[in-house]
């Protein structure tokens, strides 16, 4: 049963992830994506009087809120069964070490992603600013990796291709230009 605790190769994981698109269509007739749940949570928690957030989030979003609750549960199960360190390339390790990262044992570096690091510049920028950009950007682009890169491209949407190109452009700028500036404070 080692497949329950060992990481899966891309040629197993990728097709499994891709299969979710037709499977959700076959069950529900729906195109699935995650970023709309951020809108649902906002609509549910923030009294705003803004058009964009005035809709029946229980009806429109109930299904996907159930789905993301599942995502968290799936992550919990994975953690309880044991998630090994991520074996990334040595080139990446070297690049990140040069930025001051030393903890490669988990899914994310603890010197940046921990409650105590929140008070440091790298931690604050990564968690709060990063999170903000994810929320703002996915709703502006009307989709995230699941909605555009997976579901949208599976539907051969040109708009999704544009979004994905945008994702990569932003990601490259952040990785190569911004991260060195942000990580400058990692101790």
């Amino acid at each position: 049963m080692s497949f329950l605790t060992q990481p899966w190769p891309w040629y197993v994981a990728g097709p499994l992830i891709g299969l979710t698109v037709p499977l959700v269509y076959l069950y529900a007739g729906r195109k699935w994506g995650v970023s709309s749940t951020l809108r649902d949570i906002c609509a549910a928690t923030v009294p705003s009087g803004l058009d964009y957030l005035e809709y029946e989030w229980r009806e429109r979003g109930g299904w996907r809120l159930a789905m993301v609750a599942g995502l968290a549960l799936g992550g919990l199960i994975a953690m309880l069964l044991g998630t090994p360190p991520v074996a990334i390339s040595s080139a990446t390790v070297a690049d990140l070490a040069a930025l001051g990262i030393t903890d490669f044992s988990g899914l994310a570096p603890r010197e940046v992603f921990s409650w105590s690091s929140l008070a440091t510049l790298p931690g604050f920028v990564a968690i709060v600013v990063g999170g903000f950009l994810v929320g703002f950007g996915t709703r502006y682009a009307d989709g995230c990796t699941s909605g555009h890169a997976i579901s949208g491209l599976a539907n051969l949407r040109v708009a999704s291709l544009v979004a994905v190109i945008g994702f990569f452009a932003g990601g490259l700028v952040a990785t190569h230009l911004l991260l060195p500036l942000i990580m400058g404070g990692v101790s």
């Binding site: 990481p7 891309w10 994981a13 990728g14 992830i17 891709g18 979710t20 698109v21 037709p22 269509y25 529900a28 007739g29 195109k31 994506g33 970023s35 951020l38 705003s48 964009y52 009806e59 109930g62 299904w63 159930a66 609750a69 599942g70 995502l71 968290a72 549960l73 992550g75 919990l76 953690m79 998630t83 991520v86 990334i88 990446t92 690049d95 990140l96 899914l107 994310a108 570096p109 940046v112 992603f113 409650w115 929140l118 968690i127 990063g130 950009l133 994810v134 929320g135 950007g137 709703r139 502006y140 682009a141 995230c144 599976a154 979004a163 190109i165 945008g166 994702f167 932003g170 990601g171």
Partner: protein, 159 residues
């Protein structure tokens, strides 16, 4: 907006679609959260590796996922398959026109966040489940980002 509302009860279905059962979606999400974790797409390190072009892993996943998804969608259309719950298939019906600014600008904004945070929305939930509880702060911040978008969107170019 790709957000499509409920279409209401169809003849022959037992319940209005608006009161659909939620547990199948929770089950699906649980499976997916596990898959995402084992696929390591939730790892900040894998995202860094991807944006540095230092491994094929993430590209292999996204590429094979898109291929599998596209073949699956094509088959459904070809066979005119129906959904189990009776909802008509929500295939986005994009007429071929130049996609608007929102996809470029929103995409770039999201991409910046994706690389810095090391997670897109799906993995964010999965990581919280995996024990990175501080990411609840990232989730709250993301919701703040949505609110900000809602507040500013009439000022932003979309199409």
């Amino acid at each position: 907006m790709s957000d499509r509302g409920e279409t209401g009860a169809l003849p022959g279905t037992a319940r209005p679609l608006g009161l659909e059962r939620l547990w199948p979606y929770a089950l699906f999400g649980t499976w997916l959260g596990f898959v995402f974790t084992r696929a390591e797409v939730v790892s900040w390190f894998r995202i860094q590796e991807m944006f540095r072009f230092q491994s094929f892993h993430m590209y292999g996943i996204i590429g094979s996922a898109v291929l599998m998804g596209a073949v699956g969608v094509w088959l459904i259309k070809r066979l005119q398959a129906r959904s189990v719950v009776g909802r008509p298939m929500e295939f986005p019906d994009d007429p071929f026109h130049m996609p608007g600014y929102q996809y470029w600008l929103g995409g770039i904004a999201f991409g910046l966040g994706w690389a810095i945070l090391g997670a897109c929305p799906g993995p964010l939930y999965v990581l919280i489940g995996n024990g990175l509880t501080v990411l609840v702060v990232a989730l709250v911040s993301a919701v703040a980002g949505v609110w900000t978008y809602a507040r500013l969107r009439h000022l932003l170019p979309h199409s």
